[in-house]
Amino acid sequence: MTSAILVSIFMTLVAASTPILLAALGELVTEKAGVLNLGVEGMMLCGAVAGFAVAFSTGSTTLGLVAAVVAGIATAMVFAVLTLSLTANQVATGLALTIFGIGASSLIGAGFVGRTITRLGPVFPAALSDHPLLRAVFGHDIVVYLSLALVLGVSLFLRKTRPGLILRAVGEHDASAHAIGYPVIAIRYAAIGFGGALAGLGGAYFSLALTPMWADRLTAGRGWIALALVVFAAWRPGRLLLGAYLFGAVMTLELQAKAAGVTWLAPELLAMAPYLATVAVLTMMSLGRRTGRLDAPACLGKPFSAS
């Protein structure tokens, strides 16, 4: 009995962590290429609304997920054109992307408020996914397994492959990478696109899996938390996984406390927890490091032009 409850808590934790993990992983790759895209929250919202709109209209959550990825890439490309081709300030453009995502998702979603869809279901057959204990391993939906595979894939890509090395070189020293003959701008376009795809997918996880119902500003700042996670993880995918699940644990605690009817702590104070935890974690990260800087890619946020 108790173990079934633990499994159930674990399931909530995994579900809460997955969208942040996805968005943060995409941002990690983008930042490894030397680009700071603060538009994660905006891309997530565009993915969330596109996923919901398509899933609602077609009845297919799979098509919804595809649409979310496309929407994420599309919005990321607007950012890429502005910052890479027109050398606009990355911070300002990222903020613009988030403000745009909030506005666009609110407008498109206006017609969907309160509508519901069928939630994204588990991949494995009911015998495994409904089992009180085996659920912990076999009870998740496709996106959870995909996110774990992506962490492994990105980690291997960055550490073990030649394209991964080139991507890191572009982020660490764009001028040298350019001099050797690597297409800095093209590589950054690809990295931003990958970041957009994962942010879109993460956003859709909110509207297709966590709450199969549309509400305005569904992501509630999780995109910003994903950005903080990249710093926490010191740009390493393995630590990102750890961070995202730790964070999911904080949010699960909040939900559990609410469900258990904890009255000595107001629900509003519990709702602050994830954001306060983020500030605390960022602070502790800085206290723990000896030098003045983290292991951020050297060219992070700096514009590059070949001429």
């Binding site: 027109l86 300002a92 506005g103 509003e268 602050m272 983020t278 960022l282």
Partner: protein, 355 residues
């Protein structure tokens, strides 16, 4: 073939023309997008961008909406100049309102000329306190002020919800989650009979002029610009980047807090869960539209105020959803950043002669 050529120096003409081009382009794109979505795009754009200016009875409303935007954007812009990215102004705005409301509730059965100034002071200090956290973390520990100021916004929103549903709930309010209404000495005096026009409007204009003088005519303003443009040169010149970070964050927090207090003691007259208005985020657009220049920001504030007022008009005339306002505002910022390319580049014909 057309080609972009990098200008040797940024174009001063384009620097001031591009915001106007951006507004015009936003109107055009908006017209196309909203027509494609099945709305009357032409009338929507006319109502959002022009009607508020053409109908004098809307002007007071424009001022009421523009004042907090201008006030917040002034503070943000000075920070942005120094590469200090305070994007949590919404939280500082809420905290200013909370601190000022604290004074209002503590004095609710009192009268006196001093109450309103005390509320304003509390508002400024509340905003400053909320901005001091990111300032401290950035200066002492190099934690990104972008993330911390934003996280604190979500905390401020929850603090507001907690107060209006809990300790500060109006005892005679039929259990509605809101504070008691402020008394006569706790509300901003109306400057025009029967309208919402309040003291915040002239104050915002005054602050804009002071900010302009500060930025253009004083060493402090010069230090802010140098720290933003050339941190190494600033160090060499003896300007402390840390001091600039503290000063700009405290100034922008204080201004956002004052704007929040003016909203609470003006149009709202109490605190309710609807208080987070998003002005703190829209002010970012105002700052950029105004070219981070205090006087330009007054122009930017009026344009963004028009989108709010016009958005309401378009809701009734062409049944445009309220969310369209946000979309127009975001579109404006995007187009503005895109037209910035005209400042740095000129369009020319590619010469066919081989080099």
């Amino acid at each position: 073939m057309l080609e972009w050529r990098r200008r040797r120096e940024p174009s001063a003409v384009m620097l001031w023309l591009s915001p106007l081009i951006a507004v015009a382009l936003t109107m055009l794109i908006g017209m196309i997008v909203f027509t494609a979505m099945g709305y009357d795009g032409f009338h929507a754009v006319r109502d959002i961008f022009l009607t508020p200016f053409l109908e004098p009875q809307r002007w007071p409303d424009l001022g009421v909406k523009a004042a907090p935007l201008v006030m917040i954007a002034l503070g943000l812009a000075i920070g942005f100049r120094a590469n200090v990215w305070n994007i949590g102004a919404e939280g500082q705005y809420i905290m200013g309102a909370i601190a000022g409301t604290g004074v209002a509730l503590a004095t609710h059965d009192m009268t006196g000329w001093w109450i309103l100034p005390a509320m304003a002071l509390a508002g400024v200090l509340g905003g400053m306190a909320w901005a001091a956290v990111p300032a401290f973390l950035r200066v002492r520990l190099q934690v990104s002020e972008i993330l911390t100021s934003l996280m604190l916004t979500y905390v401020a929103v929850q603090a507001l919800y907690y107060l209006v549903r809990g300790p500060w709930k109006d005892p005679d309010g039929f259990n509605f989650p809101q504070t008691r209404m402020f008394g006569a000495d706790q509300t901003l005096p109306a400057m025009m009979e029967g309208s919402l026009v309040h003291l915040g409007i002239p104050v915002a204009l005054l602050i804009a002029v002071v900010a302009w003088l500060l930025m253009e005519k004083t060493t402090a303003g010069y230090a802010v610009k140098v720290v933003g443009l050339a941190p190494a040169a600033a160090r060499h010149g003896g300007f402390s980047a840390d001091r600039v970070t503290w000063a700009t964050l405290l100034a922008s927090g204080g201004l956002a807090g004052l704007a929040g207090l003016f909203e609470a003691a003006g149009p709202f007259g109490q605190l309710t869960p609807q208080f987070p208005t998003g002005y703190g985020f829209t002010a970012i657009i105002v700052a950029f539209l105004g070219r981070l220049n205090p006087l330009g920001i007054v122009f930017g504030g009026v344009v963004l105020a028009a989108t709010y007022v016009g958005g309401e008009i378009a809701q009734t005339t062409v049944r445009l959803p309220q969310a369209a306002t946000g979309m127009f505002q975001a579109l404006l910022l995007f187009v503005l950043l895109a037209t910035d390319v005209l400042v740095k580049y000129r369009i020319g014909w590619k010469s066919r002669v081989a080099p």
